[in-house]
């Protein structure tokens, strides 16, 4: 009886875990017993696990990850430093909004990743080129989300602060910042996704180290298990970061989780 109760209570979890286990098992069994594996074109979970173990123990994977995250952090930090003030000014000053909105919207809507080859060629295959790409891709979510956050600030609250003789500092720290916070976190979540695309594309295009380079090199040399290891690690990082942001969003502003500005 107990097992049944457990099932009805955690139905989602049980079914989800079951479906993942089923898929992995089916993949492994099919390629072991039904079709013989052609190691140049396909691989199976046991081989991936082996490659995973080997790579985790080796130094190259960690080195690649460090290289990629350094470029990511540089680009991302600059996106934060530039994007948040820009969004604040756009939200607070109507004329600035009018002037910048069409231009920035066009930039945000367009696939700026198309500039990747140019950026890599101009800034080189090192940290700078990749960081520039990450910055370019991840700055706009910050701008537009902070912008929307400021816009959504309750005018009544602003008037209250003003009437009670609050200074500009009070206004910013007590009203505008708190009401912008959830938008900012949502923006960060989007920016992480876009920044990761930037890193990957930059490293696919031209690099000598980094996790994206490791994946594309493994592909070029038909080392499929290694390639899957790279893909899985990168996906796990992406999922963890995005999920962390979503959790943060839920704690900061549970009433508007999952909503996005544009």
């Amino acid at each position: 009886m107990n097992a049944k109760d457990y099932y009805t209570e955690h139905r989602r979890l049980v079914l989800g875990v079951f479906s993942v286990i089923f898929l992995v098992a089916a993949w492994e069994l099919l390629l072991t017993y039904v079709f013989p594996v052609n190691p140049f074109f396909f691989t199976k979970p046991s081989l991936i696990a082996e490659a995973f173990k080997e790579q985790v123990q080796g130094a190259k994977l960690w080195h690649d990850l460090a290289i990629s995250s350094r470029a990511f952090l540089w680009g991302f930090s600059f996106a934060v430093i530039v994007g948040i003030p820009l969004g604040l000014v756009m939200g607070w000053r109507r004329r600035v909004e009018y002037a910048l909105d069409p231009f920035l919207t066009a930039m945000y809507a367009s696939p700026l990743v198309a500039l990747a080859p140019l950026l890599i060629i101009v800034f080189g295959v090192g940290v700078l080129g990749k960081a520039a790409l990450v910055f370019l891709l991840s700055v706009f979510p910050f701008v537009f989300n902070v912008f929307a956050g400021v816009k959504s600030t309750d005018a009544l609250l602003i008037n209250v602060i003003r009437s009670f003789g609050g200074t500009d500092k009070d206004l910013y720290f007590k009203v505008i910042l708190p009401s912008t916070m959830p938008y900012l976190i949502a923006g960060a979540r989007l920016a992480i996704g876009r920044g990761l695309v930037g890193i990957i594309v930059g490293e696919f295009y031209a690099a000598s180290e980094g996790i994206g380079f490791a994946i594309s090199q493994a592909g070029d040399t038909y080392r499929l298990p290694d390639m899957f290891v790279g893909i899985i690690i990168l996906s796990v990082i992406a999922v963890v970061l995005t999920e962390a942001m979503r959790r943060l969003e839920l704690t900061v502003a549970p009433w508007r989780a999952g909503e996005e500005v544009r």
Binding site: R11, R12, L13, V14, L15, G16, V17, F18, S19, V20, R95, E97, Y98, A99, L100, D101, P102, F103, T105, A106, M107, A109, S110, P111, V113, A114, L115, P117, L118, I120, I121, V122, G193, L196, V197, I200, V201, F204, Y205, G212, I215, S216, A218, G219, D220, Y222, L224, M227, G230, I231, L234, S235, V236, A238, V239, T242, E243, G258, E259, E260
Partner: protein
């Protein structure tokens, strides 16, 4: 006086276009007030040179040729993602079992950049249209699926119960209540999917193609033809903006009567 009222009425338009015009003019005038060092001059171009390159590529048919290749990959990938994402989203919204079974994959794929699969796709499908279509599909299918799902989940329970009480079967329920009610969500998903699909075309053509606008950009960059790079980027920009605006128009028309905004992921 008249000029002044005109200015205040169209302030946003004037400031918006004015900023872009000033930016372009500044860019154009850079060589006039600053001589670039030799190394940098190689990477520099001006809007007029980009326009000239655009005209030339248009005349010799280069753009047309590449555009067709990209457009086919875009349409095929997006079409495929609609054909798969829409029904799957509807089913996931209606069946809790299916939702629980597929949720781990949908969530993790949606959160991770699909571009990482590109080398594998190139390995499996070769350089050419198929690897591109698959990567476009992989990018575009999740926003569509998730938004359709969210739309179905958001359907008014009362309406569902009413239609059920009058003896509708699942198919009729779908047609009469579920689909019309989730349409705004689906359109919002489509808008996101278009952006992802264009990204897929660009990156797919950087690496897995010998034709198409993305290939044109990548090969121009390696040959230091910076003006051609900007022609390609400008075309992608224009297409994205036009398509996004078109879908937004559709969205606001459909959503004008509903108070809550569609959830987008």
């Amino acid at each position: 006086m008249k000029l002044k009222t005109f200015c205040t009425e169209h302030e946003s338009f004037i400031l918006g276009t004015g900023f872009i015009v000033i930016l372009l003019a500044l860019w154009e005038s850079v060589p006039l007030w600053y001589t670039l060092p030799k190394g940098m001059a190689l990477f520099f171009t001006t809007p007029s040179k980009v326009a000239a390159a655009f005209q030339q590529l248009l005349i010799n048919g280069e753009i047309e040729k590449h555009f067709y290749v990209s457009a086919i990959a875009f349409l095929a990938g997006l079409g495929l993602s609609i054909v798969v994402g829409l029904p799957l989203g509807l089913l996931m919204g209606r069946s809790q079992t299916l939702e629980a079974l597929l949720d781990p994959y949908v969530t993790s794929f949606n959160a991770s950049p699909r571009i990482v699969w590109l080398p594998l796709m190139i390995l499996w499908f070769g350089i050419g249209i198929w690897s591109k279509i698959v990567i476009v599909f992989a990018g575009a299918v999740f926003p569509l699926l998730i938004n359709t799902y969210a739309g179905v989940k958001n359907v008014n329970r009362v309406l569902v119960n009413v239609v059920r009480s009058f003896g509708a079967n699942e198919w009729q329920l779908m047609k009469v209540v579920v689909l019309p009610n989730s349409l705004p969500y689906i359109i919002a998903g489509l808008r996101l999917a278009i952006g992802r699909a264009i990204l897929g075309v660009v990156v797919g053509e950087f690496f897995g193609s010998s034709q198409g606008l993305g290939y044109m950009i990548a090969s121009a960059a390696t040959n230091y033809k910076v003006d051609v790079v900007f022609v390609g980027v400008a075309i992608f920009m224009a297409l994205s903006v036009i398509l996004t605006l078109a879908v937004k128009q559709l969205e606001s028309r459909l959503a004008s009567w509903r108070p809550e905004t569609a959830k987008t992921f």
